[in-house]
């Protein structure tokens, strides 16, 4: 036992002290922060302004087309398609006379292409202006119209779940996010750290250190030490990421919140009216923030975190053992495709099953895939977010846990048998069929 600890310690320390580990651990959250921050920054700063000359044959768009920060609609009388660029406009919007029920196309022409989002935005604005005009044509006053808009903005759909002990607010959006998040994390862990185990074992084999070590410890101890050591590296990395992300978020909030709060205050002072685009965005952001905080509270966090840790470790152990078995028969990473495919395929399939399980967490495919240990670590996490025992009955969760424990014990046993033979075998290409023969032969 003492020797396993020694091996775990070596595997762990040699990786954690490695420069690559430190760099990737620090840089990954920073990279995400830069990506997200950059995205926000550029969407705020870098949007190109469009100054659009509107040629309106109907005569009612002036005053009804609302300009925003990035879209400025102007109605100069003497501009046409030949001279709008010379006159300092970036685009020209040609709106022909609308004629009753007939389909009418309106055209925007510009030198630079217009982004998809901007196209939608323009279309929405124009169509809203038409709708407003038609309503006003039919006798609805401006004041009535504003009131209608306000009401429709304040209406929001809330979902509730009928549970055993009464009605609970549920949030499909949050469940989807948690499901995806956990599923992707476990998917990445199993692949990255599983591969790390495989490469580590292959290196020990090809550098022949395995033979030296095996003359001191049992092959199984060496394999188990490697799997546990690398697993501990994975957990360390995740913990560090969580801490770093927490720090970054706190720092980010301190940086953003001042501005946002100001805008929210401004919004409140104006009695809910929306004077400009900026405040509009701020109110949406504030609303969203509130919603997120509110719905976060509806999730069963202790259960989700508990299950995440279990499936994270269980899934890792299940697949790391299989990767270890393959690593022990490999001498060349390039020639390993045919051996690793049977392991990576179920992981990739699980990922696809998870995306479908998020759409319909009760489908037979989702239920079975969340019990079978090959896919349960990824798929079950996606389902658990939708509620236990609502979506996932206790028996399914229990069966899944038992199957995964049994599963990783089986794969570890299997890998131990294969490893023992494979690690000392050189100069021979081994197939899965032969590996199975080693595993199930009697001694």
């Amino acid at each position: 036992m003492n020797k396993i600890l020694l091996i775990i310690k070596r595997e762990y320390l040699s990786r954690v002290r490695n420069r690559t580990f430190i760099v990737t651990t620090l840089l990954t959250p920073l990279l995400f922060a830069v990506l997200i921050g950059g995205n926000i920054f550029f969407s705020m700063q870098g949007r190109s302004k469009h100054k659009i000359a509107v040629v309106d044959e109907n005569g009612f768009f002036k005053g009804n087309l609302k300009s925003t920060d990035e879209l400025a609609f102007e109605f100069p009388g003497d501009v046409d398609t030949t001279n709008y660029l010379d006159r300092g406009y970036t685009d020209i919007l040609l709106i022909p006379k609308f004629d009753g029920d007939k389909k009418t196309d309106y055209i925007i022409r510009s030198k630079k292409s217009i982004g998809f989002a901007l196209q939608e935005s323009i279309e929405r604005k124009v169509n809203a202006a038409i709708e407003d005009q038609k309503l006003q044509d039919n006798g609805i006053t401006r004041a009535q119209l504003d009131s209608i808009h306000k009401q429709s903005q304040f209406a929001e759909l809330k979902t509730q779940q009928q549970g055993e002990n009464g009605v609970k607010e549920s949030s499909e959006g949050l469940a989807t996010a948690i499901g995806y998040g956990c599923g992707i994390l476990i998917y990445i862990t199993m692949l990255i750290y599983g591969m790390m185990v495989m490469r580590g074992i292959m290196e020990e084999k090809t550098t022949r250190i395995a033979e030296v070590v095996i003359s001191s410890v049992k092959p199984f101890q060496l394999m188990a030490g490697k799997i546990i050591g690398i697993g501990a590296v994975g957990i360390t990395q995740f913990l560090l990421w969580i801490v770093l992300i927490f720090i970054l978020i706190t720092a980010g909030q301190a940086f953003i919140s001042g501005e946002t709060l100001e805008q929210v205050q401004l919004l409140q002072q104006n009695g809910g009216a929306m004077p400009g685009g900026g405040a509009m965005q701020a109110s949406e952001a504030a609303q969203k923030m509130y919603n997120i905080q509110h719905t976060m509270g509806t999730a069963n966090w202790p259960l989700i975190i508990g299950c995440f840790i279990f499936y994270f470790i269980g899934g890792y152990l299940f697949y790391a053992a299989l990767f270890a078995a393959v690593g022990s028969v490999m001498e060349d990473i390039q020639a390993s495709q045919s051996l690793t495919l049977p392991i990576t395929l179920p992981i990739i399939f699980s990922f696809f099953i998870m995306t479908s399980a998020i759409q319909s967490p009760d489908s037979p495919l989702a239920v079975w895939a969340s019990i079978i240990p090959f896919s349960s670590p990824i798929v079950m996490m996606a389902r658990i977010a939708f509620g236990v025992p609502g979506t996932v009955p206790y028996w399914q969760l229990g069966a899944s846990i038992v199957a995964l424990i049994g599963g990783f014990m089986f794969t570890t046993w299997l890998a131990g048998k294969i490893y023992r033979t494979g690690i000392l075998l050189y100069g021979k290409k081994v197939s899965w069929k032969e590996m199975m023969k080693w595993a199930f032969r009697r001694h």
């Binding site: 020797k3 040699s14 250190i209 033979e211 095996i214 003359s215 001191s216 000392l424 075998l425 021979k428």
Partner: protein, 311 residues
Amino acid sequence: MRKILELQNLKKYYATQKAVDDISFSIDEGSIFGLLGPNGAGKTTLLRMITGIFFPDSGSIRFDGKAFDPLNDIIKIGYMPEERGLYKKMKIGEQALYLAQLKGLSRSDAMEKVRFWFKRLEMESWWNKKVEDLSKGMSQKLQFVTTVLHEPKLIILDEPFSGLDPVNANLIKDEIYGLAQRGSTVIFSTHRMEQVEEICDHIVLVNMGKKILDGTVGDVKQQFKENKFRVNLKELPASVNGPSFELVEQKANTLIVRIKDGYRSNDVLQHFLQQDITIEGFNEILPSLNDIFIRQVEGTRSTARAFQPAI
């Protein structure tokens, strides 16, 4: 003489091949023992059984007077495999400490031993270097140190000199003698015969899984001697041929002769003395181990492993 290791009818069969086929021998404590054989003869399988990596299919191993118990006896064995293995990215000092601790030494004991050996072989400045920074000969030295530093009773060295320059080879050779003098037994597996002749007390030759020779170096040579003698004469006599011997080779005044059955070396001397020829030198030519090895192994070179898997 006390035996450190006794092998009785050891067998290890693979699916398609008899890697070790009924081999028995024993090794005296404190001796330097040579395990010889061509590539694929079964040496490595045999050594892996002695180091507890493999279990024999049948037969028994007695270690230090008791039935071999791999789990506990492994600490008393040091094994340096033919293909050297070290962690490339690990610092040398830590690596030596780690391997010593795996052998069962406590951290402080391990530290003491590592420092002792590093000082002895002038490796102290390597402590914080990595194996990938070492030359082949240097990593060989390190490998040797990690094999012997827990002072095992039985040290198994598979081709310990390959890749070493003469200076370092001599250094290691002296250490091997020293270890044997302090009571360790050394098994020395190789196919470099000149080293065996120089170092080993006792040899066993295996080929195709079977033992084909067993004895001290002197005994084996006696066993394979061909009664050849070298005679240096001052001048050539009228008749070089005599009734007691046949001439094998003649180079100027030096003759190589084979004594016929029923005659003794004195009969050869008599022949030349009778002709009043001055004899300047007369000595027996014993076959080198190399010759014996080649003679014993020749014709069976295409050993099974080249074509069949060694599971």
